[in-house]
Amino acid sequence: MSDAQHPTKPRPVVQPWAQPFWDAAREKRLILQHCEDCNKPIHYPRIACPHCGSARTGWRVASGRGQIYSYTVVVSNAPSAFVADMPYVVAVIELDEGVRMLSNIVDCDPQQLRCDMPVEVTFEQLDAEFMLPKFRPLT
């Protein structure tokens, strides 16, 4: 429920060309865009390849594995909608495919997190429409 103390979580403001990413996430699948011409992986999804400019892009199922490039445990002064979540972990994940995502690390003891620690994707329901890809330490 949303009220002044617990505002609604911000939902991803979806660009149309990124819709397949969110559709797959709802089915608990992490997919990544790639360029059909230069074959490079692309994230976040673009209208055209940022490497070669080609508009021929496609989607592949990602490994769902990567490493923590950096992370932080938020313990105070969070944005209003996240105050109730504290402590929560924000991290930049370097996926094995070679692209980076911003996400949360969940199912973990924040004290045990380290840069370069291996992680795997997991999914958390945001609301009826959105499932957010998040990551947890690889066991």
């Binding site: 979580k9 911000p10 939902r11 991803p12 403001v13 979806v14 660009q15 990124a18 976040y44 490039y69 950096s70 992370y71 932080t72 445990v73 938020v74 313990v75 105070s76 002064n77 969070a78 944005p79 209003s80 909608a81 996240f82 979540d85 929560y88 924000v90 991290a91 930049v92 980076r100 995502m101 911003l102 996400s103 949360n104 924040p110 380290r114 840069c115 370069d116 945001l126 959105f130 957010l132």
Partner: protein, 394 residues
């Protein structure tokens, strides 16, 4: 790239003390700063032929008024041919100076007035400020839903930088202490009481390893400067702040797309600026480094070549950057102690760089200050900008 070394100069500066002025309208900050700058330059107000305001983040309506020539009307400037806003967040001052210099070099303008004012200290609530900056320059699709905000932006860089360089929390905290030592000498700074590393490290944790006293606070403020040709500058003053070199590197929009959160674009920006200026980092007498959080001061300081990577923290801890130190740094107190005023953080630093080379920095004056380097960056540290000023042309 052809060199524009020393073809233009800052000849006048104005600034009101950073503070909280709930009773005052933001326009008064702009007008006071602009009038000071005009008087400081020693030109008649009607000699201003081009006005560049920057955006005041606290109010879209107010910013629109600046864009639609309110300053020209309020100041009664009769000779203005154009008024246009230049805004790129924290790098607005550098981009305004770059554009102003180009306009003057090509003869499109003679005397350009740049003005910043902001009311983030009293124009929005504390939580409103946090919420405003949780979306400003942060991707609404790929970052905002994960709780990214400015504390996490700074913390992510800090964590990785510590991991790669071994820099300690004590050294990071020393940036706050170093900047405070300068703020103690700056009547325009908000925080002027002495600060210790222990106090910084004892302050509330926000987002590991970032603490409350590693974080800037938002205030009201305003500053202005006047740019003219080097030729006219020499007739106005014997110590103009010549624009000797500029460099920049845009490296990302969404923060997680930044290729290196421990370096950003500073190295390229610094190389370009020093090459154009015809000097090296060893020639620098004062460094005005963008410091919204300690990590960004350390990274920029190192990457532009003022010391080897991983050593800036120790320099800030051991006094090299303090008053009397070998490389006075962020001598206005920076956003950490003077106070953050939106786009004004780097306006203040650029004004301070000019003030130092013009020899007008009072108690903070660095002796024999010939060359100053200033850094600025907007959004989530997306566009490293380096400017070199000097009172002589190498």
């Amino acid at each position: 790239m052809s060199s524009n070394r020393g073809k233009t100069a800052i000849v006048g500066i104005g600034e009101i003390p950073t503070g909280r002025y709930p009773e005052q309208n933001a326009i008064s900050f702009a007008l006071d700063a602009a009038r000071m700058a005009i008087a400081d330059a020693g030109i008649a107000k009607d000699e201003i032929d081009f006005v560049i305001p920057t955006t005041a983040v606290f109010s879209f309506q107010f910013s629109n008024e600046l864009t639609t020539c309110r300053l020209v009307e309020e100041l009664g400037l009769k000779g203005v041919s154009a008024n246009t806003t230049v805004f790129s967040g924290g790098s607005s001052s550098t981009n305004a100076l770059r554009i102003a210099s180009a306009l003057i070099e090509t003869g499109r303008a003679r005397n350009i007035l740049f003005v910043h004012c902001e009311k983030l200290g009293t124009g929005v609530s504390t939580q409103g400020g946090i919420d405003l900056f949780s979306t400003a320059g942060i991707s609404m699709e790929w970052e905002v839903p994960y709780g990214q905000h400015y504390s996490t932006v700074a913390a992510l860089a800090t964590q990785r930088y510590k991991h790669e360089t071994g820099t300690t929390d004590e050294e990071l905290s020393a940036v706050c202490v170093s900047n405070r030592k300068w703020a103690e000498l700056n009547p325009n700074a908000f925080f002027r009481k002495p600060l210790t590393v222990a106090e910084v490290m004892g302050s509330k944790m926000l987002a590991t390893p970032l603490r409350a006293k590693h974080s800037n606070m938002l205030f009201d403020g305003g500053a202005a400067f006047i740019v003219t040709s080097a030729e006219r500058a020499r007739n106005l003053t014997d110590k103009p702040a010549y624009v000797l070199g500029e460099g920049g590197a845009v490296t990302h929009f969404a923060y997680h797309q930044e290729p290196d959160l421990t370096r950003f674009g500073w190295a390229k920006a610094g190389r370009e600026a020093f090459a154009e200026a015809g000097i090296t980092p060893a020639d620098i007498n004062v460094a005005e480094i963008y410091d919204s959080y300690p990590i960004f001061q350390l990274i920029a300081f190192e990457e532009i070549g003022l010391c080897p990577r991983g050593e800036a923290g120790a320099m800030h801890l051991h006094g090299d950057t303090w008053p009397g130190g070998q490389l006075p740094t962020t001598t206005d107190g920076g956003m950490l102690s003077k106070g953050h005023t939106g786009a004004g953080g780097s306006v203040s630093l650029l004004v301070e760089a000019a003030r130092q080379v013009m020899g007008r920095a009072g108690q903070r004056q660095v002796p024999n200050c010939r060359f100053a380097v200033e850094t600025a960056v907007g959004g989530t540290y997306m566009d490293a900008q380096v400017t070199i000023l000097g009172n002589e042309i190498p």
